[in-house]
């Protein structure tokens, strides 16, 4: 399987509870679900795509001196396709298809749509058959091209994994 992921997946997966007390419970759950996803993709030997547009989002709070190190680590772990001419053509089609979607699933803000379209199009252009995002609108957009999934809530292949993640045993 070739699976694309949204930038948020990695932020959730790397989230540390003690540093974010205000939104702790929300991100604690997302942290577990993002980790479940990475375990699932690892077990299924999936090739994981993280488009360069998503990388730029991940880099925003990272100090200048560490940006290069993080880019190197990301490219070592993930396939990082750029927004090439094929992706540009796919993105243009997605824009027009978005207009025909039901009003309640359309994006309210064009700029949010723009970023999501670029990420989804880059992943699809590079060969992704599946896309993972916790953002419902991003998934609705991705569904126009491929299979789109939310973060898993459990791991059917390993009944102990969720508890192990919660208890910090993995």
């Amino acid at each position: 399987m070739i699976a694309g992921i949204d930038s948020m997946v990695l932020v959730y997966a790397g989230w540390v509870p003690s540093k974010n007390p205000k939104h702790s419970s929300k991100y604690q759950e997302l942290n577990v679900r993002a980790q479940l996803l990475l375990h699932k993709l690892f077990r299924e030997k999936a090739l994981v795509l993280l488009p360069t547009v998503a990388i730029s989002e991940l880099l925003v709070p990272v100090p200048k001196t560490e940006k290069g190190t993080l880019i190197a680590a990301l490219t070592e772990k993930f396939i990082c396709p750029s927004f090439d001419v094929k992706a540009a053509a796919i993105a243009a089609d997605l824009w027009s298809q978005h207009r025909n979607m039901p009003k309640d699933v359309q994006y309210d803000k064009r700029h949010v749509l723009r970023a999501d379209v670029m990420i989804v199009a880059s992943a699809y252009a590079a060969g992704a058959s599946d896309f993972y995002s916790h953002d419902q609108k991003c998934r609705d957009l991705a569904k126009l091209l491929m299979k789109a999934h939310d973060l898993p809530t459990d791991d059917p292949g390993d009944m102990f994994l969720k508890n192990d993640i919660l208890s910090g045993d993995v």
Partner: protein, 262 residues
């Protein structure tokens, strides 16, 4: 010009029209290699001064009469090629036909260039114009309507690497029925690819796509990587240590993402 030798296909019940053109072409190429003494591992092409040619064909041109076992279909297809080649419009339906004809037209353009001539296909005993004519620039003309170029990423499995004349790499690409035969930039890269036979790679390079279908027509590998997620816990730790932990200082990451995308 008197013939030097004859190449004969001999066998019981053998009729010339039953022999596939490919067999004739392959046999003549092989005999040409033998006649010229070419070592295929040393000399990529038969030198012009050692090549063989057909004689007893009409002087002033080279005419090869062909017989098809499905004549109506053959004439229809060839006529269609003529229409496609003469069309200058951007009609979608025509593009599909051109895509199918692209490689044969490229081959015929190469033949036309190599012999400094043009290739005509005509109906037998027909006084009208040929069904189509391909000159050395025919492929160039239609490819500018159909092909697009750009840098891209191709994910696939390396199945074959090397080559005597050109450095090539055959990749099996998911979602593509036929293998992708790629050019490779440089011998060092070929050697590196050779160490990853039957492994998945992420190749970066320049692609030529067929417009609309986005099917890759040509791809030249410039470099490749083999990213691996590995153990998720180790991966997360590695990313955090590399700088991802900067997100720890963001109280509400979702809110920042919303802001970033505005």
């Amino acid at each position: 010009m008197l013939p030097t030798f004859e190449v004969r296909f001999v066998g019981p019940g053998l009729a010339p029209e039953r022999i596939p053109l490919r067999a004739v072409s392959d046999a003549l190429s092989a005999v040409q290699d033998l006649a010229s003494g070419r070592d295929p591992y040393e000399t990529p092409h038969v030198p012009l001064d050692k090549g063989i040619g057909l004689v007893k064909v009409r002087r002033g041109s080279a005419v090869y009469s062909c017989v098809s076992r499905a004549p109506d279909e053959a004439i229809s297809n060839l006529s269609h090629v003529g229409l496609l080649l003469s069309s200058t419009g951007d009609h979608g339906g025509e593009e599909d036909g051109l895509v199918a004809a692209l490689r044969p037209v490229e081959s015929l353009s190469d033949v036309a260039r190599s012999i400094g001539s043009r290739v005509e296909v005509s109906l037998v005993n027909h006084d009208g114009p040929p069904l189509f004519v391909i000159d050395k620039d025919a492929f160039q003309r239609i490819s500018s309507r159909l092909l697009m170029h750009g840098d891209t990423t191709v994910i696939g499995r390396v199945e074959r690497v090397g080559g005597a004349t050109n450095m090539r790499c055959m990749m099996r690409v998911p979602g593509r029925r036929r293998a992708l035969h790629c050019d490779v930039k440089g011998n060092d890269l070929v050697r590196r690819l050779g160490q990853h036979l039957y492994e998945q790679i992420v190749a970066t390079g320049t692609a030529t796509w067929i417009h609309r279908s986005w099917r890759i027509y040509r791809f030249k590998i410039r470099d490749f990587t083999q990213p691996k997620l590995g153990d998720p816990i180790e991966a997360i730790e590695r990313l955090r240590n590399a700088g991802l932990k900067a997100w720890d200082h963001i109280p509400d990451p979702d809110a920042l993402f919303q802001e970033l995308r505005q």
